[in-house]
Symmetry: C2
Subunit: 413 residues, 2 copies
DNA sequence: AGCCTTAGTTCACTAGTTGATACATGGCGG
DNA sequence: CCGCCATGTATCAACTAGTGAACTAAGGCT
């Protein structure tokens, strides 16, 4: 079932996108190498790269001598072509970062949100002032777009609607509200787990994989599924809600209202509750993270802590096995603050449990790795959204996409 | 991350495919309507349909008067252009069917396999003789290709390898063996659940959906995931192994070697075992299917049977909820002989349990329906594989695919 | 200096889509 | 019954884009 007509123009766009993406991820490369890697003729490569260079999207990046012949001119995407902003709307604060095209961070601002102040108005205000602060040095003209990661599901449609129960949002038209607050840059809104997943795919443990699942364990439990190189979204962009799949039928109640969800066993809160019960007294530490750290520290000597962690690794392994059986990925990346902490300690155990629960064949095709990026990756991933639009279109997302837009991923609005 | 270079030829192929698919699924249509529906210009539609008509792929199918103007000429794919064969390799027998292009069955042959005779050699022999019988009337020249559905996972690569533990197959190079046995037609091998799912998508309860999951409950439990109109395969085509996802951590042992798999609760065998235990005595009936029918019949009067069925609907609902949370489909189709029987009786209950376990938002976007095709749909679905190749390429799969093949789905070999 | 090797560019050619225009076909009013 | 009009389909020149082959560029080697 083919989907859309194609014209000669789409052809050019596709090949521009192809060359630009190759240069972005594998650059710098010479025209000759580009020709070999993409299968395009040398003539076309010359032609298209010429066009891209004229638009200042790519620049020359030195020469490499070739054995005895004319040296190759290396080309690369110009990191200074423009900037992108990434916004991480979290449960406790808003983080705004400015990056160059190569996703090197240039400026960062964080705004705390008091627990009572997570309503859309307050958040939008925090985002806008954060953006203004971050852009103070450079000015908005150079910015290709703003990516926003939110802690909930995002319905991409004519209106971008955000549903985020943890901060009390229900069908919030975030793009519209940001526009109303004066943001005129192209906006890309996506789920935070998905943006973090994309960051890990581009720059972290997911590099090079076409099929992967990035698993995020923190207070909540989520996942980002990458299918054939692109974030899997399903029909209304709420795919990948791994945390609320049932792993113990008829089991423990979950904050989502159901029972036996993976999150009710694997989320930091649930793990600490089990530890508390097993221990018979409170766990030291004020915040969830401190308590979790205490649990990990205790594991060196306490059988109880060891048992709780092993149990948790078991649930994680079984949950991962489900992902392997259903999605048949090449790679599973374990991240999130609790997931990383757990993984650093018990990755072999997690691998074993996953192997015990998954089918032999798909399990054999999958490697299970730890995430490589820090916990700020949500903002980085959000920043990649405008870059992805640039690479997909093969052109600046600020320009009107001439011809039938073939955009995939989070749509600009 | 774009994937492949594009040339003008690809363009033509894509548009041919687009028009051919539209005509196949929504035809008969006039050129004018085609132009409107696909966005292609009238000129191109004329040009391409002319080419297709010359190749006898499409024919005229009557006129429709238009209010006051020249009547439209309706076009459609010619069902008589050629035939396709579908092969269902099951655990107990091999079924071979011949279809015309519109997938109307023309001939059917079944070969029983005695339980001891499921080794590749015997099966290949049964397939070859079945094909010969089915083709006796028409001859092989008209056949575009043979689709084969197998009860296991299919690794699509340079070699097509089949892993099917239930019939004792381990890395069987089925395509190569069929070739060695003298089959020279294009071959398409895929997992039986996936072919059945494709049949349901094309002609059954899945029609019109772009994101759906076809759930199959019989002795085993499987699923076919359709993402954006195409069967989701993952990195090595073994995605969708829903039956062996864990639904009760640490639960009942499963024949796959793991514990707590959905199949160990929802498979016919498991359901009957629960019924037997609850009842305290053997269930009447020789075969699994007869016993299952007895269970359903008993449910009108027996509390025990009712309870067992309700429990089963609960597991099914929770399993479906997991699919909804992970894949966010528009539609779930419940099929398989046990699934259909169960669904006919308890669909509302299944819907309710799914709703209780799934997140509200994705659940609200999903409808849960019963499969519409009979149990022979595996062969029908297998037969759609060559047709899909025809539609995807926009040309006869027997012809060498000129230019870089852009084939998706099960590759021909 | 001349030749070889490798990189990149130019150009004529081909494929393909499009808008404009021409042609075809039937209904309908006079 | 004839011409007009509306609608559907075909044709054609214009334009875009990718390709192979010939050509130019740039360096090393003898």
């Amino acid at each position: 079932m083919a989907s859309k007509r194609t014209t000669v123009r789409d052809l050019r766009r596709h090949n521009r996108s192809l060359l630009l993406s190759k240069l972005y991820f594998d650059g710098p490369l010479s025209r000759h190498e580009l020709s070999r890697l993409t299968g395009l003729s040398a003539a076309t490569v010359s032609n298209v790269t010429g066009e891209l260079a004229e638009e200042r999207l790519i620049t020359e990046a030195g020469l490499v001598e070739s054995d005895g012949g004319r040296p190759r001119v290396l080309l690369r995407v110009d990191p200074g072509y423009g900037h992108v902003a990434g916004v991480d709307i979290g449960e406790t604060g808003v983080r705004v970062e400015l990056f160059d095209l190569a996703m090197r961070p240039l400026a960062t601002v964080e705004h705390e949100l008091s627990p009572a102040r997570t309503e859309p108005g307050a958040v939008v205000e925090a985002v806008v002032s954060g953006l203004n602060e971050v852009l103070a040095g450079t000015g908005a003209e150079t910015v290709l777009g703003v990516g926003v990661g939110v802690p909930g599901t995002v319905e991409q449609g004519a209106q971008v609607l955000v549903h985020a129960p943890t901060i009390g949002w229900e069908s919030v038209p975030l793009t519209a509200e940001l526009r109303a607050a004066g943001i005129q840059l192209p906006l890309f809104v996506d789920n935070g787990a998905k943006t973090q997943g994309q960051a890990e795919m581009w720059f972290g443990a997911g590099r090079g994989a076409r099929h992967a699942v990035i698993v995020l364990v923190g207070s909540g439990v989520g996942a980002a599924v990458i299918a054939d190189g692109a974030t899997y979204r399903g029909s209304t962009s709420s795919a990948g809600e791994w945390g609320h799949t049932t792993i113990v039928y008829g089991g423990a109640p979950c904050r989502c209202g159901s029972h036996g969800c993976l999150e009710a066993y694997l989320g930091a809160e649930a793990v600490l509750a089990r530890y508390r019960r097993a221990r018979g007294k409170a766990v030291p530490g004020d915040s969830e993270r401190e308590q979790f750290a205490a649990l990990l520290a205790a594991a060196d000597r306490s059988k109880t802590a060891q048992h709780v962690l092993a149990e948790t690794a078991g649930y994680l392994g079984a949950g991962i096995a489900n992902l392997i059986n259903l999605f048949n990925p090449e790679r599973i990346v374990v991240g999130g603050w609790a997931g990383l902490a757990l993984g650093e300690r018990s990755l072999p155990l997690i691998r074993d449990t996953a192997g015990a629960h998954a089918l032999r064949h798909p399990f054999g095709q999958t490697s299970i790795e730890l995430a490589q990026l820090g916990l700020d990756a949500v903002a980085t991933g959000a920043g990649t959204l405008p870059v992805a639009a640039l690479l997909d279109q093969g052109a600046d997302p600020r320009l009107p996409a001439k011809g039938g837009a073939l955009r995939s991923g989070a749509g600009a609005a």
